[in-house]
Symmetry: C2
Subunit: 203 residues, 2 copies
């Protein structure tokens, strides 16, 4: 393709190509076997282009998954963060989010790289710490912000630990997906939200 | 050690040594690198002794974990199955079981081999099917039997899908353990059971 004359646009196109190459390669060969060389070759850029923006493989792979997560899990908020929908109706909002999440995990193109990353996270405590700091942490904060808003509105019990609450909402789906132990359907998402809301009902 | 003159006792001692060797090796080097030769050497038996009782590595490793699970998760019932305590008080019984489960997962000697096995299960669909059939399946049936007994006693809602109910109770603990994302304490077990019982309350 002809070189774009606009440097900013050319830069953004390279960045997107690198992130996509990183995701594809992790999914195809596993995190351990991915190299900066392979990402550069697949993205059609030089290694120096990658090192200009990222300090190494871990950093670029995490940005790749972060971009995927931002596209999937909610809208990008101020400062590039993630936010969850807040229409004021916690049941409708959680069903929207959980149906979308279930659909992502049921989609081979989305779930394969996430599964590859998960394997690495579970067996590599250092990568797990990076994952929590850069990916899971900010997303969990966005989810907790939505639950807090529902607590303030009197829709959820105010005295429940939100780390446990998030586990109650997401871990059943995570386990079912990871262990391939049951169907991932919109009805499943709804049933999970219904049980979660009953557990979290104010007394 | 001198050879026991009683063949049945000698047999049982060999069987236990083989199961223990299998668990230790999976924990130390990972399932993929364990061989029947290594299990036999560690247990101090010949390979033929292992092949007399098991058809291969998968079978002996699963029996090793099954034995661990039976020792940990409840009492052996009729026919070698697993049962959960049933004093008639579902809250007390679940707290007993979940405190014991949390303690096991917080114990490095117990959790290391289970973590090694989990990694294999998640990345190997054939092993996952064996795991469900031989280990998770029977244990889940025992857990569901206890929940059904509580449904009959009117202590839990009768219309909740028990696969989803089991996920709600166990998946938060599974995820917290697998991702090392929070402390595993008796207070955590109790808080999880409290939320679960609230979600499952009859209407």
């Amino acid at each position: 393709m002809p070189k774009d004359p606009d440097p900013a646009r050319r830069s953004e196109r390279s960045r997107q190509a690198i992130l996509e190459a990183a995701r594809e390669l992790v999914s195809e060969v596993g995190y351990a076997k991915v190299s900066i060389e392979a990402i550069a070759a697949r993205a059609g850029v030089g290694k120096q282009t990658i090192y200009r923006w990222w300090r190494g493989k871990g950093a670029v792979v995490f940005d790749a998954f972060l971009a995927l997560s931002e596209a999937g899990e909610g809208e990008a908020g101020e400062g590039g963060g993630v936010t969850l929908p807040d229409t004021g109706d916690i049941e409708a909002d959680l069903k929207t989010v959980m149906r979308a999440t279930v659909a992502e995990f049921a989609d081979p193109a989305f779930e394969a790289p996430i599964r590859a990353l998960n394997m690495e996270i579970v067996s590599d405590p250092e990568l797990a710490a990076q994952y929590r700091e850069r990916l899971a942490g900010p997303v969990d904060e966005a989810k907790k912000a939505r639950l807090r808003s529902a607590q303030r509105a009197g829709q959820l019990a105010a005295d429940v630990d939100l780390d446990l609450a998030l586990e109650l909402l997401y871990a059943p789906l995570y386990q079912r997906w990871l262990q391939r132990s049951g169907p991932l359907t919109p009805a499943y998402a709804d049933a999970l939200v219904d049980l979660f809301l009953k557990a979290m009902r104010p007394s």
